[in-house]
Symmetry: C2
DNA sequence: CTTGACCCTGAACCATGGTTCAAGGCTATA
DNA sequence: TATAGCCTTGAACCATGGTTCAGGGTCAAG
């Protein structure tokens, strides 16, 4: 049949059927039309929304934030600055996460460096000793 | 009273009472002794475990991994190499997360760069256009 | 001996981003 | 027309790391 049903959309986009329904249930994606049978039929517009969602997700936006982005993107009274603010905030959040992880790596490197890493008993392990506060 | 009850441990370590009970319930921390009343009484050893947990958590270990670290740390047959392997693996995981976040930031930077960020309508927004696939 | 702060238990609930299940209806193909 | 493979719904479940709640018991001070 010519209808773009959920399974076809799933194949086309690589997003699972259950996941697409989940996005709809969560109010992130607009509800597609239905056939008399109840089957969802998707338009190209629906698919664009879905791909928008996945791209934004890959950029680190949460589903809640993506919901906002999608609303703004179709709101005639919204403007570029609002979108830019969200992007800038997200960049800051990402940078914060990076900084935290870099600190973790640095600290872990530092305490692992002196671990003999051999068959010595645990009492010689710099990692365990650090964690137990015997710096 | 002289007993180190859960509330005192919470104040001393900065870990919430509910959180301490949660760690015990999850089998990560060993069960403290009890008074006839049922009150938990903690030893310095218990507190060391708790601080170990929080330090390891700050280094990026999950509670499951910390459980392993604690077991190894008291197992007489374990050795330094096993601990070192866990630390190395964690460093790799952290590096992987950093790489993913750096890619996100780079991509987000790249698409936000050309956004006019003013009162222009959404149709001029490079961010939205990117997400809709109109690169 | 009462009051208030502290403690106990078990169970439910929170966010996040989905996945899985049960029980049944619709459709394409041979 | 049989039947495999789609589709529907609502609800429960997963991991992670806790928090909150209801309904009580205990302890120390006044």
């Amino acid at each position: 049949m010519a209808y773009l049903t959920i399974g076809k959309v799933a194949k086309k986009t690589g997003v699972g059927v259950e996941t697409i329904r989940y996005y709809e249930r969560s109010g992130i994606l607009s509800k597609p039309d239905r056939l008399p049978s109840g089957y969802r039929v998707y338009t190209e517009e629906n698919i664009k929304q879905l791909l928008f969602l996945r791209k934004a997700q890959a950029l680190g936006f949460t589903l809640g934030e993506i919901s906002d982005l999608l609303s703004l993107s179709t709101d005639p009274t919204s403007n570029c600055e609002q979108i830019n603010d969200l992007a800038k905030e997200k960049i800051l959040q990402i940078e914060e996460k990076i900084a935290i992880l870099q600190n973790m790596r640095r600290d872990l490197d530092a305490i692992a460096q002196y671990c003999p890493a051999n068959s010595q008993p645990i009492s010689d392990c710099s990692i365990i000793n650090h964690l137990y506060g015997n710096s």
